[in-house]
Symmetry: C2
Subunit: 699 residues, 2 copies
């Protein structure tokens, strides 16, 4: 099987192997601090661009606690980021420099850590006492919670020094244009430029371009740097900020000379545990380019795009979570993105100011739970989920629906639509969020809230159907404003209703025919909303149509020379105009996370693998060729994988864990080895239960 490696490193979920000392901190604080660092890196044409929304900060003073029972005395060493103090059984220990001997018996260790510069963190090293997530932490509010940690296991490396990895890369082509030099790295990349053999005194201007045109556009390039130098011809300069580029136009002052240009490619070292190949090479290239696009945007957190914002947006990130489950299956980046997006209490606005982005945040937890089975993470974040949900509930209008406050951004999509009053799409996302909260409340034993959220979801369901279902048009309509219905039929509410399984068979069919496949209904043009549209259509069995769309749209970008997928693509636009957006000639991001959706669509709807129960303890495999001769691939599951091959004559499944339900639609009964039972569920629909023994079914 193909197993596309990016860089082997962390691999499996850290939760499963934290059996030695790691740096610990107050949960969320390191993520919030790092998030600030990432967000505040944005600069545009030399000017800093902090995000619009509130940035939170870490608590400068934290207590960590652990109760131990030692059979024999033990020497421990304590490391800290900031100042720290050990209180052993309520007594201050005044000198920690040579370690502390903890006597045999039962003890309570409380370690205070305080720092104004960085997140207070500690690292405790002993043979049986060591810092990990079994320690408790308190920000001195009389409440203890499990400590937060990643996999920082070296006591000499402070968490605040965390950086992604780098490796040196070299241009594929260099072109002299007058005094300046245009270097081309052959594909979109991200890193710190390195100039060697720099001589002379003056300024070097570096204009970055995702396209050749952008690099040559001077101060119209979205990002540029000016470097002062005074070298003897031997100088080496490495820029302190990393940029997104394929091309760089390097323009030195007349007296300045530069010998060589390279860059340190900066990346998150994660392994791609998913894979996909098929009989169509273009589709394979689309998968590979999607993966590369996704990986470039999978960093400290999921970014929207690597050139411009480099911010973390809940709606964009939500799609990246799903793509991640079919590629890296790196739970850690999902977790830290969800933590960072939420920030701290009190809630004063929607996530990223956007109403729908609050809802995607809730729904992201549901998917996280289904794909990973990690209820522990839900439990740790439940209080923050509750407070965001209370914030939402407090903003309902007198009809019990969500309506944008003047300061709210009701986004849905970049498209012409009426966003005033009660927008049906928002109510559907809200209903889903309530259901998610009802589920988690129940799982976590918060019975009253479980009952309450489920009731609220049910009430809302009735209101939505009664208010927005338009029997005549065969779909949910756009909105109601000041009591007046806007019967504009848009795809958005209908897509989500289908995706969430909110409509019965008849209505689903009507939506499919009268809305989703209705050429008179306003088209969706952003890859962002196409993600949901294509998912919904795949769910309705339209893989053949989707494959054609994919080859047209993503194949179209490749045909235009794309090395990563774009924020937006319109086949009608040609030349440099392709790069314009937001009223700026190079405003468009050419490496945008939401452009990578084929990795999700191909994994979930062509290989057809998805969890049935949390953490893939049981799952579905429902391959769909979509017109291809054969497809083959790997879908990662927690601590394992599912390999699938499918052609018109054969299906093979090999999994390392769990119980699969292979679903086959066939006009003739499929054949399998005697050990595999093929059950005919209904005429033409067969199920085969699979386990860790490879299964081959012939059709």
């Amino acid at each position: 099987m193909m197993h596309q490696r990016i860089i082997a490193c962390q691999g499996d979920d850290f939760r499963l192997k934290a059996d030695k000392a790691v740096w610990i901190w107050y949960p969320g604080d390191f993520e919030i601090w790092l998030h600030n660092k990432v967000l505040l890196r944005r600069s545009e044409r030399g000017t800093s661009m902090p995000p619009f929304w509130r940035l939170d900060n870490f608590y400068p003073s934290i207590k960590f606690r652990k109760r131990v029972n030692l059979y024999e005395p033990e020497l421990i060493r304590i490391y800290a980021e900031g100042d720290c103090t050990l209180i052993l059984d309520n007594k201050y220990i005044y000198d920690l420099s040579d370690g502390v001997r903890i006597p045999a018996g039962e003890h309570e260790l409380v370690i205070t850590a305080a720092s104004m510069q960085n997140v207070p963190c500690i690292y405790v090293e002993g043979s049986s006492i060591y810092s990990d997530q079994t320690w408790e932490a308190s920000h001195n509010n009389h409440t203890w919670v499990e400590a937060g940690c990643w996999d920082f296991s070296d006591p000499t490396v402070l968490p605040s020094s965390f950086k992604l990895e780098t490796v040196e890369i070299f241009p594929e082509a260099v072109e002299g244009i007058g005094k300046s030099r245009l270097v081309d790295f052959g594909k979109e990349t991200f890193g710190y430029v390195k100039l060697t053999g720099v001589g002379g005194r003056g300024t070097i201007s570096l204009y970055y371009g995702e396209s050749r045109e952008e690099a040559l556009a001077g101060a119209e390039a979205e990002t540029f740097d000016k470097v002062l130098c005074d070298g003897n011809g031997d100088e080496e300069l490495v820029l302190s900020v990393s940029r997104a580029f394929r091309f760089i136009n390097i323009v030195p002052d007349s007296e300045v000379t530069i010998k060589d240009v390279s860059a340190y490619y900066e990346f998150l070292p994660i392994e791609c545990r998913g894979g996909f190949r098929c009989s169509d090479e273009l589709v394979n290239r689309i998968w590979d380019t999607s993966l590369y696009t996704l990986h470039l945007n999978t960093r400290e957190f999921f970014l929207d795009g690597i050139k411009r914002d480099r911010w973390v947006w809940s709606g964009d990130a939500y799609q990246s979570y799903l793509m991640n489950y079919y590629t890296f299956f790196d739970e850690a980046v999902n977790r830290r993105t969800m933590i960072a997006l939420r920030g701290k209490d009190p809630v004063e606005s929607h996530i990223n100011y956007i109403m729908d982005y609050s809802f995607y945040w809730f729904i992201g937890f549901y998917d996280y739970y289904m794909y990973t089975g990690d209820l522990d993470f839900i439990r740790k974040n439940y209080a923050r989920m509750l407070s965001l949900m209370e914030f939402c509930l407090n903003r309902r209008n007198s009809e019990g629906m969500m309506e944008g406050y003047p300061e709210d951004w009701v986004f849905v999509d970049w498209a012409e639509m009426d966003k005033r009053g009660e927008v049906s799409t928002e109510q559907i996302l809200f209903r889903r969020s309530l259901e998610v909260m009802g589920l988690f409340a129940g799982l976590l034993g918060d019975t009253n809230n479980a009952e309450r959220f489920n009731r609220l979801a049910d009430d809302l369901e009735k209101k939505i159907t009664c208010t927005f279902w338009d029997e005549e048009q065969g779909g949910f309509i756009q909105s109601r404003f000041e009591g007046r219905i806007n019967r504009h039929l848009t795809k958005y509410p209908n897509i989500f209703s289908v995706l969430f399984g909110y409509t019965d068979k008849d209505r689903t069919e009507r939506i499919k025919r009268d809305v989703l496949q209705n050429p008179n209904v306003q088209k969706i043009t952003t890859p962002y909303m196409r993600f949901y549209e294509l998912s919904a259509l795949c769910g309705l069995g339209e893989q053949e149509f989707i494959l054609k769309e994919m080859k047209d749209y993503w194949g179209g970008m490749l045909a235009q020379g794309a090395t990563t997928f774009w924020e937006e693509y319109d086949p009608q636009v040609t030349g440099a105009a392709r790069y314009a957006m937001y009223g700026r000639p190079f405003g468009k991001s050419l490496c945008h996370a939401w452009g990578a959706s084929p990795v999700y669509l191909l994994g979930r709807y062509f290989l057809g693998v998805k969890p049935l129960e949390p953490g893939y303890s049981t799952y579905v495999i429902e391959p769909n060729l979509g017109g291809l001769d054969w497809i083959e691939g790997t879908v990662p599951i927690p601590g394992g994988r599912v390999n699938v091959f499918a052609s018109s004559t054969e299906i093979r499944v090999a999994a390392t864990k769990g119980t699969g339900c292979l679903i086959i639609r066939s006009s003739t009964p499929p054949k399998a080895a005697p050990s595999c039972k093929v059950i005919e569920v209904e005429p033409g629909l067969y199920n085969v239960t699979t386990g860790t023994t490879p299964v081959t079914v012939t059709l």
Copy 2:
């Protein structure tokens, strides 16, 4: 008149003269940041001691806004702590390095500032556009509030570099004890030790002592420093932390030599605008020593004591606010202490964890308003007052009274008493807090809350009287726990009832006789609670008794060689045992803010000056000799002062502002110049209305 100067500098209230550019920030954030810095400085025997309670942090990203209308174009320069960006009329300005020319006409300037290291601050300099408190700030929560500022007017000095002032001081005596050297600065002081002419390689240990005994106690001294040196005999070492001391025992390693020792005395440069002299030199010395004690504790914020905690405690600070009104009248330190104590939302515990300390915080605002008339400050903090009050209201028990949660510290005083259940003192302080909130809600137009808080205060008043007034014993009793009354008669609830004027004439008399002057009632031993006890007795006309107490208690400390007043004093204890507290031989603070109460008692109850209406627009002058031949003094009022002289034959009043009501008790009618009308209010009680013309009344 005496006008004891400490260091002339800031003087009058900054609010009144902010007519030029100053650094601005998000209100409260600089105070919170500085507060953390101060609190985290505490170390004990080489170990850091962060406070028990939650420390908040600043917002890393802030927007500042100003709308202007220019007659002609204007060049502005923008300075920032952190990164900053100008958005002029919704358009980013990309280059700020040479200043920005703002065209004539109406404009909106929005400046973003972001920093993870320090509080984001900006400074804008132009001829008509300049940063001050008329700018608005937002932490990106869709809400704009007035920017915060102090008087930082130099654009080249960043707010984060703020430090108190220093001046070099020298020991009065040096005593060689073996290899070590005991230096004596002659009185309690605070500063950074400087060692000059240091030679040799090794460690120098510095053991600080507020007493000689402490300095000589080695590692039992509450604070010490170890300095590594490797000097050629010419080395100069200045310690990076400032300490409280009178004595320092300097113990160098055998190879190390030191030529000279001095220190940089560190202090808040404020002028003492109040003064007091009388016919008794001991009382004058008590006043002077109180002032010095108060000044040493009046720093970035009001500290409890300068040696040990160096923390900011709401109950301690509350008394300092009041002392401040009769000495420095430095509103700024009151304001920043109140801001820092409150911190940020959400409220998760009482201030300093202590229930009563939340109430003192509210009551401190009332006094601030009465003494300064600054309703603006109340308005700016009203939201935070509301959220703390909601927190309190949510913690009432089923009887509607405040009862300590397991994590609450019900303090009242260091004394034996039952603090379980409903403690009457807490209810009285709570009632007062509700009244304060009712007053402010009304003044700020929050009518519903005004009505609500006043009603809650009335309800509570009825419950308090009905539950705790003990007609038989003639006072309020201690508490009720699980429905059972504890009839223990303590002074606390009775003191506060008298101070707040909560009892009628009959009950007040009974409290005075049966509680406050009843030798069988448990004595108050801390200067902390004595502050209120002596105030209450002064209010009941017991100045003669108080003067005797003062001379005994504070005079007793002076007789023991005190150069500042102590945290606790028991005349029975002698020798080194005087310095022990909290189970540690030198645990007692010998320079404790609450020890300075004579400056308050003498100003408020002997000179007898207090505001009648907010900001001293009208005020009372009711001199009381308390048995002294004469008293003379100055009480500062906003932007002015009131001078008072009183003897048994003459009273003179000279004020620079406002209208005074001179109250005279005399068996014969006082005489004054014909322009002054002496009104007999009741037999033996006379009023004279005073203004800015000096008034002399002969008796």
